[in-house]
């Protein structure tokens, strides 16, 4: 390390594994700047929780269901609410993009990049889908190898310049276009109470009162009605594909379980202490119960996909569970709105 100082850059970056890439990157980056917040806290302040069933957007030819907010939304809201300045950059030219990354690293700044998971060599083979919304932090470089703090992996990983360049310029839907971002300035200390209230309020409003019937609680109910019709409308074979896609969106891609519902419940526990609102603890438990229903939904779906469904495992049972989830979540959001007013 000492004989080749110019080629070796090492930033002392505290890597912690997280369930989800964007909230994990956000928490790890902010911790580097002295704002010690957990992943769940970042997720909550960033109003990450969401639901939308968008059948007109297709992923692998199947409808998109999302349990989280838009890409980049968590980082944007967290940094805005905490008063950090973040610089976002996009590039057309991969060489310029990598050079800009090198330049920031040389200044000792950890840089977060949006990448396509397919191109990252340290991903286990079964995870190498074309998935263009993966966030990671580059926190060092030696010769041709970059040191990567990828929040969904337990340890620091390494990636060659060529592979990282490909990952940053992955093609296809939601292409990252070399997007990178880094913190320019952060306040030394920050009161999390107001940002936490803001985060909760935004989630509740979005879930309860979006006028579009495909989004929020109405979206869950709409999906329930659709699920009931799938076997008739699509035929058994295609319906199974739709269910499989639903489960993947809910449980895969680092949701921490139950489509982020558990992560949000963890946030509510932290918020209960932070805001001195013990009632939020109970709401967290309710949210956990709702998450357990989402998991049951995935269990039944899994059995249907595998052709091992018993008499009770059918599309109607899944639709009923979705309605239970919608009822449970709606109650939590309504009460949350009341509680955080004060």
């Amino acid at each position: 390390m000492t004989d080749n100082v110019s080629a070796t850059l090492h930033i002392d970056f505290d890597h912690r594994q997280a369930a989800h890439c964007e909230s994990g990157v956000c928490a790890n980056l902010l911790r580097h700047y002295g704002l010690d917040i957990s992943e769940a806290m970042a997720f909550g302040i960033g109003s990450g929780l969401f639901f939308a069933y968008l059948p007109f957007i297709r992923v692998n030819g199947l409808p998109l269901t999302t349990y989280r907010c838009e890409v980049g939304g968590i980082v944007k809201r967290v940094t805005r609410r905490l008063g950090c300045r973040v610089r976002w950059q996009k590039f057309r030219d991969p060489h310029k993009a990598m050079d800009a990354l090198d330049e920031m690293l040389a200044q000792g700044v950890p840089v977060a990049c949006r990448t396509g998971g397919y191109w990252l060599p340290y991903f286990p083979p079964a995870f190498r889908f074309h998935f263009n919304m993966h966030n990671l932090v580059v926190c060092g470089k030696s010769a041709d190898q970059y040191t990567i703090s990828d929040p969904v992996f337990p340890d620091l990983e390494h990636c060659s310049r060529k592979d990282l360049g490909k990952a940053r310029f992955a093609k296809g839907a939601l292409a990252p276009k070399g997007a990178m971002y880094y913190v320019e300035s952060a306040p030394g200390t920050v009161d999390l109470a107001i940002p936490a209230r803001q985060g909760i309020r935004e989630v509740c409003r979005r879930m309860l009162s979006t006028p579009v019937p495909l989004i929020g609680i109405r979206g869950i109910r709409y999906l329930a009605r659709q699920v009931r019709q799938w076997p008739r409308k699509l035929g058994e074979e295609r319906a199974i594909l739709y269910v499989g896609q639903l489960i993947r969106m809910q449980e895969e891609l680092g949701t921490g379980g139950a489509g982020f519902r558990f992560m949000f419940a963890a946030f509510l526990q932290e918020a209960a202490e932070l805001l001195a609102l013990p009632r939020l603890m109970d709401l967290s438990h309710t949210m956990t119960a709702v998450g357990d229903h989402w998991r049951k939904f995935a269990v039944i779906g899994g059995r249907i996909c595998k052709g091992r469904a018993s008499a009770d495992d059918n599309y109607d049972a899944m639709a009923d569970l979705l309605q239970v989830c919608a009822d449970g979540e709606a109650a939590v959001y309504r009460e949350l709105l009341q509680r955080i007013k004060g």
Binding site: Q17, T288, C305
Partner: protein
């Protein structure tokens, strides 16, 4: 989900790495804990890979029009492929390129 309920169903992750899950401990407090995978998720992912394999095979067959399907037997087409492109795999998908 309680800690003891966190699934450890191997499938996608083949090494000893773990993904992080949120689960509650005995006191009802959330903790981060590792999971090796979960069966419904493994099923859904396997299904997604099968879909990808199928579409690769379909694309391959569309790319090679008047070839396999109309030929009376399979072997001439394999031979034909091998003779003209000795280094080409029979099919980029998991299934045979000749049907």
């Amino acid at each position: 989900m309680k800690i003891e309920e966190v699934p450890q169903d191997r499938g996608m992750i083949t090494d000893d790495r773990r993904e992080v899950c949120y689960a509650i401990d005995d006191q009802g407090r959330y903790v981060l804990t590792g999971s090796a995978g979960w069966e419904p998720k493994n099923i859904a992912n396997r299904q997604a890979w099968e879909q990808i394999d199928q579409s690769i095979t379909a694309a391959w067959q569309a790319f090679m029009p008047a070839r396999p399907a109309r030929w009376p037997t399979t072997w001439p087409c394999i031979k034909w492929t091998r003779d003209f492109w000795p280094n080409m795999p029979a099919s980029p998908g998991s299934k045979s390129g000749c049907t």
